[in-house]
Structure formats: structure tokens, C-alpha cells
Symmetry: C2
Amino acid sequence: MGIIRKTQSVEVLLAEFKSTTEAVSAIALIKRLDSKLNKTTVYRVLDKLEDDGVLHSFLDKNGIKWYAKCNACTCSKHFDAHPHFQCLSCGKVDCVVIDVHIPNIPNREVVVSQVLIQGKCEDCFV
Amino acid sequence: MGIIRKTQSVEVLLAEFKSTTEAVSAIALIKRLDSKLNKTTVYRVLDKLEDDGVLHSFLDKNGIKWYAKCNACTCSKHFDAHPHFQCLSCGKVDCVVIDVHIPNIPNREVVVSQVLIQGKCEDCFV
DNA sequence: TTTGGTATTGCAACTCAGTTGTAGTAAATT
DNA sequence: AATTTACTACAACTGAGTTGCAATACCAAA
């Protein structure tokens, strides 16, 4: 289910992530690209870009989906405890370049770990 | 916004958590108690029980809300990295009694951390 | 134990992020 | 250029969670 064709939609979306390492919510992208792309297309292309390892996704504190081209992970290895930081003041989300160690748990197989840290970001931290 | 009255709805919901320390999704409760309680009531009572520190809530990998009366945390202290484990096979979620250390991040204030671990639970682990 | 204030409940209608079906369109292959 | 097939847009849908409001149940004071 990877990307097969280099379509306009794909290029438009890739351009959104080219300049920043910050995470963007799917909704924000849909609103921002409203004149260019259809909502369904945005969801489907993001999905494929994730399958292709270009982006990775996660849910924020409200269950909203965010995507990011992370600067730290190799995108073949973000099944690790890859932490994301969401600012409680401005809502901004980004990838945090720290390693959170998830210990093994007896009689369980740990496959993926998601860590969402909430607090005040660099801009909102007084 | 805590609980003021010991109503039937409150007792019915408390009973659901009395016998287990496993987490239950709001939806599961709504379906299970369909004959007894209204959907809205379930959501509202759960909300208050959380405010009162009786339950705590978190979102699973699908953005679905779960509640649990955790065995480990004091419920005045689950603002820590309190990990939850969701089984990828059976979907069951429970509280894991391990401490995941979230380091401080320069120029940021960490308020809450959520850790969701996904894998195979004790029952599904072969 | 009645009365009355008010927290709580049930219902219906709503919100809104995300999904699905489908007919039409655009990209690659020949 | 023709053909194949992936992709896109649109509209309609899904489903978890919310909101407004009238009716009801709880509690306390009389």
C-alpha cells in the first residue's frame, strides 16, 4: 500500500513537511490545503506517506491525529518510545529528541510504545 | 465539579469497577449498561468520578477513552508517567505497575506524561 | 413527611474527525 | 496515442463524544 505514483497531491503534502520538523495535525493540513486538496485525499495520502516511512503519526491528548517527519528517528525505527511533546498553552506538538526507556514486562511482548508529554513549550515557558 | 449525590447511576458505575482493576472503555460501559443508564449519563458520571479521583482516564491507540481504578497509583499522583498496556490481539487494556522515567527537558515544563505500551498481553502471549 | 431548591438524568439533536463507495481523472506503461 | 490502473473529488456515512433542555430524583430544612 505504498506510494506508487508521484502525483500533485503527494508533492503538495510533502512540501508541507519539507520546511519544518514540527508535527502538524491532519485537520490543520486539511484546512490549510482546502483550496488545493480534498479532505479524503489528504487523509489517504498521509496514510500512504506513513506506510512509506516518510512520515509517522500519533494521537494527541484529544485523540486527534498528527503527522511529523521526525528529525531524530530513522523512520524505520520509530517503534521505539519516541516521545512527542504537546504544549498545553498553544497546542503545538513536536518530536522530542530524548530516549524514554520502556522496560520489559514479564510475560508480555512489547511491540510499540507511545509517549505523549504535556506541558509548556519553549515559547510558552516563562 | 465533584460528586455531590450518591445516585443510582453512580453506584451502578462504581460497581463496574469494584471487582476489577482492568481498564474499561466508556463505550463498553455504555453498551453493557444500556438497559440501566443513558449514554450521556455514563459519560457525565465517569467524568465526575475522575474529577473526584476515584477513576482515571486515558486514550487508547484509536483515540477511544478508557477508565480504570488503578491498583498502583494513589489517584492523587497519576500525573506521573503512569503506563497503560493495550494488547494488540485482544484489545484489553490494563495498568502496568512499572515506573517509566520521563527526563526533564531544557526550557520546558513537563506537566503530564502519558505512556501507552502496545503488544501482547499475558493471555495472548504465546 | 412534606416542601422546595438544585443536582442529576434522559432524550434528541448535534458536532466533528475520520471513513467509504463510486464515478471520473490523471499518471505511468505499451 | 491507447490502455491500464492508481488516484482524486464528492457526497454520504460512521461513531465517539457533547450540548440544551425539560423532567426527575436527591437532599435538607421546616
